[in-house]
């Protein structure tokens, strides 16, 4: 069977258009002033939220990318888990999903069937329904979902509303991009690859369900922009975030791979983008790379009051054992993000 990866120059969220480039384009767009649009693209949030009536809003998102793994079923699961994640990170529950498919005319349809089955598994696991889709021929295969969910408009988890004094929790280990880079370089060990694939396939549903019993100040999910870019978005103008590099969860081999310079283009783009906004202190190079590392289907990154953060962490660790408290929210400092 023809390799999925052989058709792709870059896969997963590492292929996202850079955050700087994107905001340049979006700055020229008109602002849509519908009061029912509670969260739009001007907020750089994870998904759009539109109010239907007093106690119901819908949350809508779309995500697709080219393969980062060779196994078609796994790719389908990862792409679907990644697309569904934006609904969870806003505090919503997925209702239904549509497939988005680009596929080369000369590739076997059997692999496409596997991709779609993998996606369908995750939609079922999310408790949502698949209700259609759209497919076209393309040079590189791509797959993803448009997902619609429901949400209590009083309980939206925005990405940029942390409160000074809060603690920050990261639910999944970092290092996905580095392990996939090592795989591309044929230098990854099987255990690391399995850890990365298993993490990418895992729905953020379970961590989000635990979070619903606690007050959440802000939440987002980690994407190809890397932890630090999302931390900066979360900090906004009103706060600074301090991250404790020694507390960061990561796939163990990724630390070694980063030290061996198995590094991605996307991480360097992320590093360039964050220049001037992050004070890295004397953080070792490998940990810096992990914080710039592009994540595909990354974990949730959330801010919660210190009084309940430990209890919330324990609850999340029942479903995401590698979750950690990785930092806290400060009043604005010299730098948007401080790493200590």
């Amino acid at each position: 069977m023809m390799s999925l990866l052989s058709n792709c120059t870059s896969g997963g969220c590492g292929a996202k258009i850079g955050p700087g480039e994107l905001s340049k384009v979006l700055s020229g767009m008109p602002v849509f002033g519908d009061p029912k649009l509670l969260v739009g693209f001007d907020a750089s949030d994870d998904a759009a939220v539109y109010q239907i009536n007093q106690d119901t809003a819908i949350v809508s998102t779309v995500d697709f990318f080219s393969p980062m793994v060779d196994d078609a079923r796994s790719f389908g699961r990862i792409a679907a888990a990644n697309a569904l994640s934006d609904v969870y990170s806003m505090g919503g529950t997925p209702l239904f999903a549509l497939n988005l498919v680009c596929y080369p005319e000369r590739m076997e349809l059997e692999a496409l069937g596997e991709i779609l089955l993998g996606g369908a598994e995750k939609i079922q696991e999310a408790g949502a329904v698949l209700c259609g889709g759209h497919s076209i021929y393309d040079k590189e295969p791509k797959y993803g979902l448009a997902v619609t969910g429901r949400l209590d408009p009083e309980r939206i988890w925005r990405n940029n509303t942390p409160a000074p004094g809060d603690q920050l929790i990261l639910t999944k280990p970092l290092g996905i991009g580095i392990v996939m880079a090592a795989l591309r370089g044929e230098m990854a060990d099987e255990q690391a690859v399995q850890a990365a694939i298993s993490s990418m396939q895992r729905l953020n549903k379970y961590a989000a369900e635990k979070m619903h019993s606690f007050p959440i100040s802000a939440c987002t999910d980690i994407t190809g922009f890397g932890l630090l870019a999302h931390a900066r978005e979360m900090a906004g103008e009103g706060t600074s975030l301090v991250l404790y590099s020694s507390e960061l969860p990561y796939i163990p081999q990724a630390y070694k791979y980063a030290g061996d310079y198995l590094i991605t283009a996307a991480a360097q783009r992320n590093r360039n983008h964050m220049q001037g906004f992050v004070d890295l202190g004397d953080t070792p190079f490998a940990l810096q790379e992990l914080m710039f590392d592009p994540q595909t289907s990354g974990g949730l990154f959330l801010s919660a009051p210190k009084s309940c953060a430990q209890e919330l962490l324990s609850a999340i660790q029942e479903v995401e054992p590698q979750a950690r408290i990785v930092g806290e929210v400060l009043l604005p400092q010299n730098s948007s993000i401080l790493v200590r």
Binding site: A181, R184, Y261, L262, A265, Q275, G276
Partner: protein, 197 residues
């Protein structure tokens, strides 16, 4: 000399190939050149070289390709890093025009100033760009050719990253490196003579 052609290859492949070539040189050391087709790969190669204690430099080639030269081992040095005849001159440029009065004239003057810097022998050790000066190193600048010539002559070209982020031109850097305020202060403090523009 090891020449590695990484045109069409994405990171980490160029870095892995360069690192393997450098390791195969063993104790004796030597020179590895890597041809890549994007500046991010160049940045990753130099990050690896610096991290492992190698000297490196790069040269823009046609079609947007970049040739990165990495030198491993004692006794080998990249030519432009030689300190003989070091001018000790640092030029700090904090604006994209020269003098007060007409902005249009000022922009013609600054272009002429940077062109004239090429004629200095020995060349400046550093040219620093900040605030609106950072437009002069971005890909739209009409000074790129002169700055690249300076760079080829051994001048370190540094642009303030806070400034390029502010103007949203970080991705368009056309010559030299991004630096932070510490880098700017270090270059100024190390200057024998400093021209502030």
């Amino acid at each position: 000399m090891n020449n590695i052609d990484c045109i069409g290859q994405v990171c980490p492949i160029p870095v892995i190939r360069a690192k393997k070539a450098l390791e195969s040189l063993g104790e004796a050391g030597g020179v590895v050149t890597v041809l890549v087709d994007n500046d991010i790969a160049r940045q990753n190669l130099q990050k690896m070289a610096t991290g492992l204690g190698y000297q490196s430099e790069y040269e823009q080639k046609e079609n947007g390709n970049v040739e990165v030269t990495i030198v491993a081992g004692e006794g080998c040095a990249v030519e432009s890093c030689a300190t003989d005849g070091d001018s000790g001159l640092v030029v700090a440029i904090g604006r994209n025009s020269m003098g007060e009065g007409s902005q249009e004239l000022g922009q013609i003057l600054i272009k002429g100033f940077i062109f004239a810097l090429r004629e200095l022998v020995p060349p400046p050790t550093h040219v620093l760009f900040f605030n609106s000066g950072s437009y002069l190193t971005s890909s739209d600048s009409n000074c790129l050719e002169d700055l690249r010539a300076l760079e080829a002559a051994g001048t370190v070209i540094l642009t303030c990253g806070t400034c390029t982020n502010y103007f949203e031109i970080t991705e368009k850097l056309g010559v030299g490196e991004i630096t932070n305020m510490y880098g700017i202060v270090t270059a100024m403090a190390g200057a024998k003579r400093l021209i502030n523009l």
